[in-house]
Structure formats: C-alpha cells, structure tokens
Symmetry: C2
Subunit: 480 residues, 2 copies
C-alpha cells in the first residue's frame, strides 16, 4: 500500500520549509568529539525534542551520565526518546538516528562555512556538516510526522524513536541503555518493537537507492614502540641507538600488501571464498569501476573487476594504516628521533570474524615480528576498540516493505548492499531486541559524510522524506 | 702562554654578574622559528650589540632583508658584526655564534619557565632556553672582553665577531653574506682572518672537554605518495582502492634496518671502513656505552662496543625516519585513509659522501621500489635540504692553541671528536675563507640543547669563559 497522494504532495509543497528546518539544525555545531562544543550537542538535543513534540511525539530525555574526554569530565548528551501510537493492531517500528556531527572547520578545505547550510540551486546540493550524516535523515522523520499531523492522517504504524548525540564519538552510554532496557522485558521502552529502521548510511552510487543488510566489523589497534626517555637529535644519536620509528615502520610494513591482502596469518583464512552464486549478487549491483574511482577522485581501484572491488568493500576484510602518533607530522624538515611512536591501524571484519577471534592473531604476529627485529626498544599493543560484523536476513517483511516503498518513490528496485563500514548500534539492536534491523539510506554514495563539503542532495532529502513515510505504509500493509 | 692570573681571577670574582648577564639574555625569547617572536630576535640583536659596544667592540648591524615564514613576509634579524684590534703583528680570530633560540613552552614538559634562567645551586645548573645554545658561549666572549677592558689588559689577538639570529631556522641570508664578503678580498669584513673559532656544540660526555674537528653532512627527503582526491573512510574504501599509507610504509621500511644499516644501494659502500689506526681514535675517547644510554635515557645502544657506537655517531652515515605528514597523528582512533602522505627521513653523511653523490642513489632506489609495488598511486620525491660533511685538520695551530688552553683550565687533554650533527656555517667558513675552523664547545653532552630543561652548568659557563680567554693567549703565543 503506497502512501496517500496527499502525503507526498504535502512533502513537495513544503520542501523549502523542510530545507529551512535542516538549515536550522546544521547551524548548531553539535560536534560530539570537541569538548568545547558539548553545549551545542545539548542544544541540538533540545532542538530535536522540541520538533518531535511539535509534531505530536511524546518525548523523554535520558541522562546518560558523564565521561572523560581530553582530560575533562563532561556530561554526556541525553538520548532523545520518543513514542507515537499505541495501537496493538499495528506494527511498531523503532527508528534510530543521531544528532551529533563530525568536526568541521572552514580551514579543513570547505568551500563554504560548514555550519551554514548552502542550497546550491544549480547542482541541487544542500551543503553543510551533518546535512547527510545524520541530521537530514533524522529530520526526514520529523517531516513525515508533520505531514500526518497537518493532514490529519493516522500513522499506519506505531513509532518509537531513539536518537543519540554521541554517535561520532563511540556512542558512549548507548549500548548500556539498550541492554538495560531490553532486559526489562515488559515495561521496557522497546516493548512491542517489531523491527528497527536506521537511516545512517548511503547508496552505493549516485543513482540507485539501496537497502543495506550487512556491515563490516572493526578492530582498531595501536602499536606503540618506545625507546629513549625523550625525543633525540638524529645528528647526535643517529646510528648510536635503536630508533623506535625504524622498528614501528618495519612492523607496519608487515601488515598488508599494496594490493590489500592482509598478512596477519589466519585472518584471511577465516573467511570462505565467494562461490558462483554469491558472485552473482555483486554482478547484479548497479556499480562500475568508474563509481569507486569518481568517488575517490582518482583512478586507484585495486582491481578492474567490478565484482572484486565490491567484494573487497563488502564481504572481505580490509586492513588500513591510518597514521602514527608521536612522530614528526608537521610541514618542513625536523631532524628528530621520536622517543615513542604509536602506529594506528584497523581491520574491517566480516563474518565469521570477530574481534575476539582476530585480536589474538594480530597480537601474536606483531610480537613475533618485533622479536625478529632484535631491537632493545619496547613494544606495547593495545586494541582501541572493536565491533563484530553484522549480516541481516533481507527476505524479512521489513526489507520487503522498504523495497516496495523504494519502487513506489524511485521507480526502481533497490540494490541490496552490504556496507564496508560499521554502525555498531545496528548489531546492538539486532542482538538485544532480537528483531530485524533494516538500513534504509537517504543519501548518495558521494555525500562525503565525514569529509569536507558534506552534502545531501535536495532530491534525496525530499524524495527520502517520502520514502520514509511510504515505508511505514508498506509495513502497515504487510500481514504477518 | 696561559692567560694572566688576574684574568681568571676576574672571571671568578665576577661569576655572579656574568650569570646575571646570561639571565638577562635568556629572558629575551628570541625564537627565530616563531613569527610572533621575531621582535624578540631583533631585541636580542640590540642587547648583544649594546654589550659588545660596552666592552670596546666596534659593531655593525647587517640588514639581511626579509623572508617568508608561515605565509608572512618577515624582516630577517640583522647579523651583529664586531671588530676589536687591528695590530698586524697579531693573529686575527673570527668568532661565530648565534643569539636566536629554539622554541620552548613550559607545557612542552619544562620543569620551570624556559625564559627565566634558574640557577640551581644544588646541581650547579643554569637552566633556561638558550643557556647553552648558544647564548652562554656568545656571552662568554663578552665576559672575556669585559675582563680585559676592566683590567686594562691588551688582547693577545685581533678579534672579529659574526653573530647571527637565524641559526635555528636555516641561517637565512648568512651564507650569501659570507660568500659576498669573502669575494671582496681586500676591504672585506673577513680580511686578515687567520682562523675561525665556533662554540656551538658540546662535549662528548659530561666530564671531558673536547675539540671537534668533524661534522656529518645531511640530506633530508620528503617521500610523497598520493592517490585519492581527498581523505577517504576506511570502511567505505578499505580493500577497494590503493591506499597511499600502505605504499609509503612499504617504501619507508626499505630504507634502513633496525640495527642502523642503510639499505639504499651504494650509500654505505661509499664510506671506507675504519682501519686499526682509526679505531684507536675511538678507543682513546673518554666514553662508554653508559654515556650514550644515560643521555638517551634508556638501554638502547645499537652495540655493546664503545668504538662501534662512537663510529656510528661520528664517522658512519645514519638514516633516521622522522615522521609522516598528512597521516592521522592525533590520540585516539580515526578510521581514515589519508589521501596524501609524505614520509620524512634524512641521511647523515660522512666523507666522501655529499648530497650530490647520494641523492641520485636515493631517488633511483625509491623509484624502483615503488615500481615494484604496482600501485596506481603517485610518488613524488623531494630533497628538502642538504649539506656536505666537514672534517678539519686537527694538527693545525688553531687546535694546538685550543688544546693547550683546555689543559690549562681543565687539567686534562681534550678529547678530539667528530659530531654526528651539522653546523652548516662551519663548512661555509672553511670553504669561503680558506682558513682553519675550530669547534671549541663550552657545554656538556647532556645539556639538552633543543630539548626541555636546556641547561649550561655553572662551571662550564665560568671555566668556559676562562677557556675562551686562554685560547686567545695560546693563539697569540704561537709563532707560525
């Protein structure tokens, strides 16, 4: 059952006002990773709660306590919970999103002020930090509810909302809340939830809507090599002492090949190869080498086979070297022997890999490679964080409803994709609530979520709002 | 001929006043590398000129023009030139030193304010930025001249002074000035100079004075690997594209072994091995593995042989990896694939190596190693700066005079050392003036010149002042 025409008409008529709503949200620099912006995250929580209330949602702010960041004790932004509808004959859908954003400074390379939403009429882009990640999708739900309120339409489902303000900074406190609530059973905030819908990822390309049923997991390592008590002058100490950088670079060079193969013994071997049937999934996706290369801005695809590139991203593990803490990182020339250097790398995990299974392999490999160096420096290994991969059943009614809604709005069948990144709360919801979780992205593959000039296309915001509303009708129409 | 006893007595009697003079100089934060402190470098030039004038030196300030730093056009600090004595029957010694300092902030880890000289009565340390590098030695000369003026003593030599304010920032303008002056021949500022004396390095240890007759050269490289047009998310692009960090780390891992051997073909081979006679030089030096390890603050010497460690520092080339520009360097975990990363490394050169001879080997090696990676990323190599090594004839009268002066003041024969670092002006003076250059250090090996809690021992400042004066008498006494 598609949404009533007057719903989609309302969205079109009010598009400019919806864009202003997004502009108001982008103007609040709710950067959870910047202690000095913590008040803005609170302000954004209030902004969102006010908007939810105004469209008929019963809200609660959940105090998650405090945490330490940059040596400061800081209050955690509240969870903004909401509920609307308690009709036992309807399905209940839990919506998750987040109202905090990544850091952004004009000087990072933005063409415009990151916290002023720029509506580029020519390209149709809405440019600003948080436009696509994740304020646009969150406000999409507010838009849907406003339309129903103004039109006097009943919602086809009951809705529960769970919006957090720490997603970009490790979702502190969220998992604990979900677990604690889930344990309550009857009377829990999540009581009666039939399925979850999350709009916090992206289309595979710039053309074809998709539903996402898998995410890679992650394990993030810090490899610290230390020697001298302080930084040394390379003139005075060069070739007199063991240099931590030499050892660290040697270790980091043994983790992954230039073509992406992970060298930690046992890690690749955990993942079964793709059979002919599985390869067909990737053949069928609307994707080309040009897509990954346009999106990266350079002809640097690891393979000329579309299937290989897609499998590399979606169903194979990857290992990336991110950088080094403690070494010289400035411009120019400094002749330092850094005393203590920490290499950062992470492995994206796919089933059946888990941090618990992979981490011991990484640790024992690095320790044995370090021993081979015969260095007098010290090695310390730390896993900074990790999360399991997630793969959902995409034949579930939750996906069926989203697929129908996509066809209704975009006139195409959605691609079924897996994402290379992680959205840890997905797994938490799946495991704690025991219900199907759907990732229903609003933005395109080139939105640049964590990058400069982040954008959400106007059409994705407006059609995406229609998509979210229509999805609810398709859920409501399903009889299970 | 030792200095007259009343000279050394004067130095002892006026020690506290000399320390106050150093305190006044340290209080001027003449950081040449910090644009916001440029006025202080000018202030320090004025301070030094005033002190030189007050002890009878004829001075000139040389305007070196301007340069660009941090995107700003800045006036260069003037050279402070001085001359005293024009007796053709006496030798003429040119003294070089510098009045600018390295950056320092209490928050870098200093125990006290870096720009307030702390006289630690217990340890005998004079702690402050510039105390040993190079304000103490420069003021040592002022102290010597004050003593002669106050005591009505004739100087045993003619003196010329050349003090600069950009030594810590590439000595901008200095080489050009020296070359231009040297070309003038008659009427040149350097006319009649018989030898040069520079006090801008350190004893090998904390016990034994030394004369230094060699310095390593340097060639500093930036290895840039770039691929994507912007930083990418490792979840989305990991194992889909060639990652610049993977390539760069692979290249950096092929430059040097953990025990210090340089892997660039042809670089080690340029340097002849040490024969039994040369090894004896190192055997004779007052040095132990404990010295290098105390000074590094950890048991990380590359060898348990004192000779090997000394040769590694003094007469063998070394290669140090300094860091990476453009990669993630912060604390915590960021899952970025950096778009453009530049590894920084340098090679310390020894005769007969020169940047001109070594650089092509480095470039062709890195290009061929990069080609082996089969990466679609781009490699760019840049030599940021370089300088030739320098070795002086230590049997010259200039060294003979300094050795006698050392024995007179410290009652020991000085060690004859080579330094692992570079003082480029040394080579400029040697080449342009064609005279012997002596490095006559005032401070100890643990002074921490570019580090936190930089210090000059009170005894090194006071006995060092006596040493500089006595050196002039020993030069005066030599008949060549």
């Amino acid at each position: 059952m598609p949404a009533p025409p007057k719903f989609t008409e309302y969205v079109d008529k009010n598009a400019n006002r919806f864009i202003q709503r997004l502009a108001d949200a982008v103007a609040i620099p709710s950067i959870s990773g910047d202690a000095s912006r913590r008040n803005d995250v609170f302000k954004m929580a209030q902004f969102l709660e006010n908007h939810l209330k105004s469209v008929g949602v019963t809200t609660t702010l959940v105090n998650l306590g405090s945490h330490t960041m940059d040596g400061q004790e800081l209050p955690l932004p509240p969870l903004v919970l909401g509920r609307i509808g308690d009709d036992e004959s309807k399905k209940t859908i839990l919506i998750y999103g987040h109202f905090d954003v990544q850091p952004a400074e004009k000087s990072d390379g933005w063409d415009t002020d990151p916290f002023t939403l720029v509506v580029d009429e020519k390209s149709g882009k809405l440019i600003g930090r948080g436009s696509t990640d994740d304020k646009g999708p969150v406000l999409g739900w507010v838009n849907v509810l406003e339309a129903h309120q103004q039109l006097g339409l009943d919602l086809p489902v009951n809705l529960r909302f769970c919006f957090e303000g720490m997603e970009e900074s490790g979702s502190e406190g969220l998992d604990e809340f979900i677990e604690a609530e889930a344990k309550k059973g009857k009377g829990s905030w999540f009581e009666g939830v039939d399925a979850v819908c999350i709009s916090d990822n992206y289309w595979l390309n710039t053309r074809t809507p998709c539903l996402t049923y898998g995410l890679r997991g992650l394990t993030y390592f810090k490899v610290c090599v230390s020697g001298p008590a302080r930084d040394l002058h390379s003139g005075v100490f060069g070739r007199a002492v063991h240099e931590p950088m030499t050892d660290l670079i040697a270790l980091m060079s043994k983790l992954v090949t230039p073509d992406g193969k992970i060298l930690v013994p046992g890690v690749e071997e955990m993942v079964p190869g793709a059979d002919a049937e599985e390869r067909k999934i990737y053949t069928s996706l609307d994707y080309s080498i040009a897509d990954v290369e346009n999106s990266a801005g350079a002809s640097i695809a690891l393979s000329s086979s579309k299937e290989e590139v897609l499998m590399g991203r979606m169903r194979n593990p990857s290992l990336s070297l991110h950088g080094i803490e403690g070494a010289f990182y400035g411009v120019g020339a400094k002749t330092v022997i850094p005393a203590k250097v920490s290499g950062k790398f992470s492995i994206r995990l796919v089933p059946p890999q888990t941090p618990d299974a992979v981490n011991p392999l990484v640790v024992s490999y690095l320790e044995s490679e370090f021993a081979k160096l015969n260095s007098k420096n010290k090695l310390e290994l730390e896993c900074l964080h990790g999360g399991k991969p997630w793969v959902e059943d995409f034949k579930h009614w939750n996906y069926e409803a989203a697929a129908k809604a996509t066809e209704a709005i975009y006139k195409v069948k959605p691609d079924l994709t897996r994402e290379g990144g992680s959205i840890p709360v997905t797994l938490t919801f799946a495991e704690q609530l025991g219900v199907n979780v759907l990732l229903l992205p609003m933005g395109r593959g080139d939105d640049g979520a964590h990058s400069t000039n982040e954008k959400l296309d106007r059409s994705n915001y407006i059609e995406g709002t229609k998509l979210l509303g229509t999805y609810l009708y398709e859920v409501g129409a399903i009889s299970t």
